[in-house]
Subunit: 170 residues, 2 copies
């Protein structure tokens, strides 16, 4: 089973010229979804992870499943105003514009070992924002992992200080 | 371990007079998150589920983890304009206003056995919208399950035609 075969490519979404990699066709195929989570766990088997940190919304699907598989906690990072308690905010450029993300200030203790997980590595803006928020809380980014990496965009080059993993390369 | 103890209550969020039930304190506590997923799986052990259908964003965390645990597919339902392929849309009233949700038209085949899963049962608007979208695609709603049920709001009364489950009652 090749996970890449379960990703549907949709041209001109969300705007003209973009080849959108649609993960919903992987998620709905039980064996592919399971293999994706198991393969991510294998990539990270030498890492000790206390918490997975992911951004809404697609990141939550993999974050929840992998946290269950790895027996660790899950910390959601959300758009401004969505988290109910005290937060830190980080603003950043992303592939199709600009955005801000928030994390609860008490999400984990200093020194916690964190996996930053997202579905897609394009420019790397979202993942780097997650890493910055983790470090603001005193967490240690043990690894940054993605289901899909768009190699031509070169987002990986921006995260040389981290251990970066991806399952599917386009 | 009482799962209820891991839910943080935040007064006046998102607006005055609302007691917001914050699940992030359960998610970040590995044993509580694991128990929540395992207990949901136990509640549903006599159901044959092909796909879990959940709405963004918080629903994705539990949907992804429980789909992994139950060995089934996961189908995300999103706000309008977020899903890249052809969709059906359903508009509905929710606790703090009005909203619309979309599902991919080809998310699953007719007759598929579906679990609708959400983190919180308040008015029931979101879960009923999910059930309607499932039925529009010809799916069979085998059960509707929630992590938390706010009993006083009485959302359960609106879904008498379904099998409804919840883990934590407030």
């Amino acid at each position: 089973m090749k996970l890449q075969d379960y990703i549907r490519t949709i041209p001109d979404f969300p705007k003209k010229g973009i080849l959108f990699r649609d993960i919903t066709t992987l998620l709905s195929e039980q064996k592919a979804f399971r293999k994706a989570i198991d393969d991510l766990a294998k990539l990270l088997k030498n890492k000790k992870i206390d918490y997975i940190v992911s951004a809404e919304a697609r990141g939550f699907i993999f974050g929840g499943a992998l946290a269950y598989k790895l027996n660790c906690g899950f910390v959601p990072v959300r758009k401004p105003g969505k988290l109910p308690y005290k937060t830190y905010c980080h603003s950043y450029a992303l592939e199709y514009g600009k955005d801000s993300l928030e994390i609860h200030k008490d999400a984990f203790s200093k020194g916690a070992k964190i996996l930053v997980l997202d579905d897609l590595l394009a420019t790397g803006g979202t993942a780097l924002a997650l890493a910055k928020l983790v470090e603001k809380l005193g967490g240690s980014v043990e690894a940054i992992a993605f289901l899909i990496e768009l190699k031509e965009i070169g987002g990986r080059k921006k995260m040389k200080e981290y251990s970066v993993y991806s399952l599917i390369k386009f």
